[in-house]
Symmetry: C2
Subunit: 388 residues, 2 copies
């Protein structure tokens, strides 16, 4: 597989979701767990296709060794869950929070798991739920592990999300000119991507449809997580750094580029070239069997050798899927290996105060023999110097 | 105070944030805590004015008995925190996640609190952080308690957010007609509210600026949390139920109305009238000193007496502030009392399959003598039957 797979825009069927539960149960078996309990909306969505926003009325998914998982949820949400879930669930509902003594979610929760059971919980589980979990509790992120390697379905959805990002990024490069304000770019790019999703997925779930289309102009591009203010104007020169992300009906991809308006300052040429060299090495190394920490170490070394060690602010990349940041990580502390079916960002960056930020990010699928980029945009200095 | 206070659109000053920390420290003293640790972005925002989205690189705020709180955060976010925080903080940064052994966030975290300390944590704290917290840990939501009664500043910000909601809701009633699609309403109303915020708060923080403008048409209005699909059309008659919410640069308000397009089905008249009667009683009861569970009990009784007990799906209301749902709750299980400075929704509802949903929600400030509504829209059956 060295070509981009076909996009998918339909909801998951029950076979797809069964496969995901089967993965979780296999890991439960390995850890000797009788139950696994999820609260993190991301994990609940992964296993059921139902998305929720966290508030004081919890949705708790309880997975036993067999049978339909139990969804413990507020009464007024049950039909919402039924409308979106694409798997069999057993429903247990509570009326409200807070309820009179004996009728709260935690009173019901206590009856759903036997005291003698061995129960796994996510690291993200709120301590308030952890403390009320019956049985012997083990904190273990087995769903993160189940989510590491994507199914063909997830890859197809991600290919679609990448097409949305490509569309948004093309719009961004078309409209970003000196003097244009951040909010105008944001509005146009977000609208373009949302419009594409809404025409291609008419039943899209807006709870898991989020779009960002922003540019860090040269005044802040050295500071990659300094969120721009709405009226920040674009400037002559660069580097400007784009960030375009789409969670398109549940599946997330990203693309980022360092680019220039009109001309390239002399001081930007070397860091741009070093970033491109580091990036090229990352693509070369991103193959099945490669150790993630080793990729990050070697990519960093390119930047260090150029004299820019103090300008590295982050790892080479991170996993992608139903979230924009997830395991695995192309980071010094992640000694796992790449496996076909993983989705990662490749985005080594250099951030020099006074000179700006140098980072291209793409969303990349690990294939049987190497990798294939799902996001596409110009990437050379010539292509990214916009003079029209 | 029976008039709506003046709106505020400026960021909090350090005196405002000191007052909030002082409240937390007073509660720490009562519980004998040496430290309180926050992770929930809502609480971190409340105490610092810095907003973040949760991902695998945690932001942890550690509050001791005296001195500046410690912000443990990723290296690449430190300048973002500095750009938005409006209080003194001591910064401790870690490079990445995952990092090589000894350099992870939890290695640093372990050095920031002495082993002999008594440490309070939120219920929402992820168990992964809880398990790595040094000292003797107590789970206690004292920040929720600190947030119960709003400062004058918070009230002023909320008055502004309510004006945004009022503007959005007027737009919604103006454009909602039979055949208009959900997504068209959503797009116009969200754009109207965002435009208002961006002209009135040029430096608005988009991470905490979110808007919803939606209508549940009669086909689903009996099902209050069944999120509409994008191409759902509005219909003749009703009830349609609007939901307009704004988190306007950090402060959240809501307004909802049951309304009719063209004509009122006969079967809708009684439940509308019962809802209005329940609502009127809630306003009458919502005064300082009133017990929340008692308000809910009496308001429910109006609906029960009309023969609609099985059509009650939720409590009478909930607190509002920097979130759209927070303590206190006008619910059977909340035996706290109302206090001047609390912000609550008042929204008793009746949901009848085949007849629809009947609910008006407003955002209301508890004053020294009673309450004052911050959101304003037509509310009678005549006003809410739109024939133009």
């Amino acid at each position: 597989m060295s070509q981009v797979p076909k996009p998918i825009t339909t909801p998951p069927d029950s076979a797809e979701l069964s496969e995901r539960i089967t993965r979780v149960r296999a890991l439960m078996g390995k850890e000797g767990l009788d139950y696994y309990v999820c609260f993190d909306p991301v994990n609940v969505y992964y296993l059921t296709n139902f998305a929720n926003n966290v508030h004081e009325r919890p949705f708790i998914l309880i997975i036993g060794k067999t049978g339909a998982p139990v969804m413990l949820c507020p009464l007024l949400e049950a039909s919402h869950v039924r409308a979106r879930a694409r798997c069999d669930l057993e429903y247990v509902t509570y009326y409200e929070f807070p309820a009179p003594a004996g009728q709260n979610w935690f009173d019901l929760y206590a009856t759903l798991i036997p005291a003698g059971a061995r129960v796994g919980l996510e690291e993200a589980m709120p301590v308030g739920i952890y403390k009320r979990t019956p049985g012997t509790v083990v904190v273990t992120d087995i769903i993160d592990e189940a989510r590491l390697v994507k199914t063909d379905y997830e890859i197809g959805r991600s290919v679609h999300a990448a097409a949305v990002v490509n569309f948004g990024h093309a719009k961004l490069l078309e409209i970003t000119r000196p003097g244009v304000l951040e909010i105008a770019i944001y509005g146009e790019v977000v609208r373009a991507m949302m419009g594409k999703v809404l025409t291609e997925i008419p039943e899209a779930n807006l709870i898991v449809s989020r779009f960002v289309g922003a540019v860090w102009p040269p005044s802040i591009s050295h500071d990659p997580h300094r969120v721009p203010t709405p009226y920040l104007p674009m400037e002559d020169g660069g580097p400007h750094v784009s960030i375009v992300t789409a969670q398109a009906d549940g599946y997330g991809m990203e693309m980022e580029r360092s680019f220039f308006l009109g001309s390239v300052p002399e001081q930007a040429r070397k860091p741009f070239a070093v970033m491109m060299e580091a990036r090229a090495l990352a693509y070369e190394l991103a193959k099945p069997g490669a150790v993630l920490s080793e990729i990050d170490r070697r990519v960093r070394q390119v930047i260090i050798d150029a004299g820019y060690e103090q300008y590295i602010l982050h790892r080479t990349g991170h996993g992608l899927g139903i979230t924009g940041h997830e395991a695995p990580y192309l980071a010094l502390g992640d000694d796992r290996t790449l496996v076909p079916g993983m989705l990662i960002s490749i985005e080594p960056g250099i951030y020099i105060p006074g000179a700006g930020g140098f980072r291209h990010s793409d969303s990349v699928l690990i294939t049987d023999t190497g990798n294939v980029r799902l996001t596409e945009a110009p990437d050379t200095l010539e292509q990214l110097t916009i003079t029209a």
